[in-house]
């Protein structure tokens, strides 16, 4: 049990706790910030798994981008009257049933397969050698993965222009009222 193990289990626990808080919190803004906590500790998990680039991308994309988008979405889709933004929940038993069934299936699958034998995990795994991973990702994106990379760029462009067009007409029509 090294410090890295400890850090991994701590980050995993914070990730799950943040998710559970989103599940049970009735206040929207608190749920959004719990999601921030959850996703940023997930970046720590990525870092410990040796994916530095993904960890940084996670922070930039999720914490910097998506959470701001979600908070703006909350702001624009609720009439603020000085009170708290409260959200209800329902279908508790159905959710419990589905989650329990899927959880049992997943547990069975994880138990059944001998992962260590089937997939030898690299034992080196030191995250100290920064840079090598980044270089591999950069070279990979420009050589083997150049087509999906460009397609992702086009997808983002199309989606963002579409989103801007949709919400742009929203802002115009509400200010015109």
């Amino acid at each position: 049990m090294t410090i890295l193990h400890l850090l991994f289990y701590l980050a995993a626990g914070i990730t799950l706790l943040g998710g559970v808080f989103v599940l049970f919190s009735s206040r929207l803004v608190q749920a959004a910030f719990a999601l921030v906590l959850s996703l940023s500790s997930l970046a720590v998990v990525y870092l410990l798994l040796g994916a530095e680039f993904l960890a940084i991308a996670q922070l930039l994309v999720y914490v910097g981008g998506i959470l701001v988008l979600i908070l703006f979405g909350m702001m624009l889709t609720h009439t603020l009257r000085g009170g708290e933004l409260v959200a209800e929940s329902g279908y508790r038993w159905r959710a419990l049933l589905v989650v329990a069934a899927l959880g049992a299936l997943g547990t069975y699958a994880i138990e059944k397969v001998d992962w260590q034998k089937r997939m030898p995990v690299e034992t080196s795994g030191n995250t100290v050698e920064m840079g090598s991973n980044m270089k591999n990702i950069g070279v990979g994106l420009m050589t083997d993965y150049v087509l999906p990379f460009e397609l992702a760029g086009i997808l983002l462009l199309v989606a963002l222009i579409g989103a801007a067009w949709l919400s742009g007409s929203f802002l115009k029509s509400t200010s015109g009222k």
């Binding site: 979600i70 703006f72 959880g103 983002l156």
Partner: protein, 101 residues
């Protein structure tokens, strides 16, 4: 190193939490958050398996593209939600019942 099974358990639990959020919450924005958690749970798996075979980075690349698609999805979904709000003055599932869903 961390056993692969523990990472898989983390990802599975995170996926279940996201699924429970999508089923139980009645606010569309909170449901979006649940979808984000589910996408992230899948990403953990991809990263974990990209560690298993030496030198292979396919998992990390795939996780990167999943992230891009997640951004596009959230942006479009929030734009649609603005339209829904404009029409119904609400973003709750029990108010948007015109399709009898």
């Amino acid at each position: 190193m961390i056993p692969l099974a523990h990472i898989l358990v983390l990802s599975g639990l995170l996926f279940l939490v996201g699924l429970a959020i999508v089923i139980t919450r009645k606010n569309y924005i909170l449901m979006l958050m649940g979808i984000e958690l589910m996408l992230n749970a899948a990403n953990i798996n991809l990263v974990a398996f990209s560690k298993t075979s030496a030198g292979a980075m396919q998992g990390q690349f795939f996780a990167l593209f999943v992230m891009v698609v997640a951004v596009a999805e959230v942006a479009v979904a929030l734009a649609i939600l603005l339209k829904v709000y404009q029409y119904y003055q609400s973003v709750n599932t029990h108010d948007t019942t015109q399709l009898k869903g």
